[in-house]
Subunit: 315 residues, 2 copies
């Protein structure tokens, strides 16, 4: 099998039957109390116990969703907010996801220049040697990056990812309410800022296409407007899309559909709180905290069915 990111992602999607991704955004207030109870018993009311509870919840969620999803997207912010040890939990969750055969997309939205970008990339992809000592990265398959600083902030990530058979998703049009504020500013040359970002994303990926015809440089494209999605699909015909915002952020079916190509390929749709925190937030609340596992399993199955169907009926 090809080691190219786009081919590995394609194979994983085929194996699981739907182009979906479960976001791992552990909000401490929505981690079931039983995890805290066990951890406090073992470690007392300590920061270590809180981290232990959150990490174990994430790992149980991974095991529940693994049969249904090809990929997961751990959100670094929620791990960093657990204190200085949080990155170790992030790495542990990534490792468990890999062990379960899942494609791991690190949602880090990093962006910096030159050797600083290289340092961020070293934290994510492959190993490095310092004075003969091996420093382990989080070994993820893919990461999100921010393009505001320009090519010299993206290209070092592209190089590091490519060297490790990994990929990137560059922020193009995000799914938040305020995303238009800068991203949709109209340019004198015609089109909007996001169009120029899209053209660059297409170019950065052009040198490395997988056997499936897609590149290892993807784009984050929020599914909030159908016309915007169609337009970006046209501007980036070889670019894999990561589509956030299904569920909580108001993603629309028609807009999600427009992110796929005519064969229903080229995109993966993410749901975060709607799956992982299904018992706490969303339509499956009736399960209650005691049945949080059933809520996660039911949520991921519904998500799987919805997106598999959307992808099977492309625009």
């Amino acid at each position: 099998m090809s080691n190219h990111f786009a081919d590995r992602l394609r194979a994983a999607i085929q194996a699981k039957g739907a182009p979906i991704c479960a976001g791992i955004d552990p909000r401490p207030e929505w981690v079931p109390q039983s995890f805290y109870d066990g951890a406090f018993e073992e470690f007392g009311r300590t920061q270590k116990a809180v981290r232990f509870a959150v990490r174990n919840f994430c790992i149980e969620v991974l095991r529940l969703v693994a049969p249904h999803v090809p990929a997961v997207k751990p959100q670094a912010a929620f791990f960093e907010s657990l204190g200085p040890g949080g990155w170790a939990d992030f790495a542990a969750v990534c490792a468990e996801a890999r062990r379960l055969g899942l494609i791991v997309i690190a949602d880090v939205k990093r962006g910096d220049i030159g050797s600083t970008a290289e340092a961020y990339a070293q934290a994510l992809f492959g190993n490095r040697e310092i004075k003969g000592v091996t420093i382990e990265s989080a070994h993820v398959d893919c990461a999100t990056v921010n393009p505001y600083l320009g090519a010299d902030s993206v290209v070092p990530f592209v190089a590091a990812a490519r060297e490790n058979g990994a990929g990137l998703y560059v922020l193009a049009r995000t799914s938040n309410k305020g995303s238009a504020e800068f991203q949709q500013l109209e340019l004198k040359q015609g089109g909007a800022l996001v169009d120029e970002v899209a053209r660059k994303i297409d170019a950065w990926g052009a040198e490395s296409l997988g056997e499936c015809g897609y590149s290892d440089v993807g784009a984050v494209v929020g599914a909030t407007h159908v016309d915007a999605a169609k337009h970006l699909r046209r501007l980036m015909p070889r670019t894999p899309f990561l589509v956030p915002g299904w569920g909580a952020q108001g993603g629309h079916a028609a807009a999600v559909r427009a992110c796929f190509d005519a064969k229903g390929q080229g995109a993966i749709v993410n749901s975060s709180r709607g799956v992982m925190h299904a018992y706490a937030a969303g339509p499956l609340k009736e399960h209650g905290e005691a049945h949080w596992k059933e809520a996660v399993t039911q949520a991921v199955k519904i998500f799987h069915q919805e997106i598999a169907q959307l992808a099977a009926e492309p625009a």
Copy 2:
């Protein structure tokens, strides 16, 4: 004394006599060998030893520069790249800098939305409680953020920083070669993207001005073009500037001068490798590794003199 970030920064600058900031960007290849030798002896050839060496070098650098600089800017990327434990070293370096009375600017360039932005901010500012357990942040005085996602990615950082008497520097015009690629794209409405970002930065900071007249929402403005710096100073009259690129990135004296107001205030200039790695990179190489401390001390004194003089003769 006012607890407002801009006032605290002003007081620190007055106490040290120059508006300068020492970047803490530990490149493992430029950490003097003696740090590794000691660490390998104590911990063997392990990741822990490498982290120990890098952290101790940073802490010694802090002690050398503390008499001369009001602020330091640790770069998160270089700590993340030391493996999952690297964030603990980042936090330890921030703690030592605070203990030395330095203003700590976390160069993290984070950017995400809503509750995710809040989680990133929790990792940086103040403490939080989870189930009655206190989770310590890195307790920094300021952080850099990326505006590409729009106001809903910046405002949660503003709120968290403000609540803790801290501040932000939002990326406006960065100092890298490729910064113009998106930042200087001309808009249909007139001006460039960076101008629109600048107007928003000014507005985000308008609600909270310190006694010194400056806000707690700053801007990163690279000193590469004098006209660009003058223009951005006009667009953001109340905004403190963080000016990277002195030395290594080719900052020009006239452009740096244009970042200050008529009283020589409102900006702080950063130098990273030129100070911390003075023995390894730059004009003080003749000191050699054995005399790295002398190189750092001499470099920071020259930097102090150069910028104090520039600020005393504003444009």
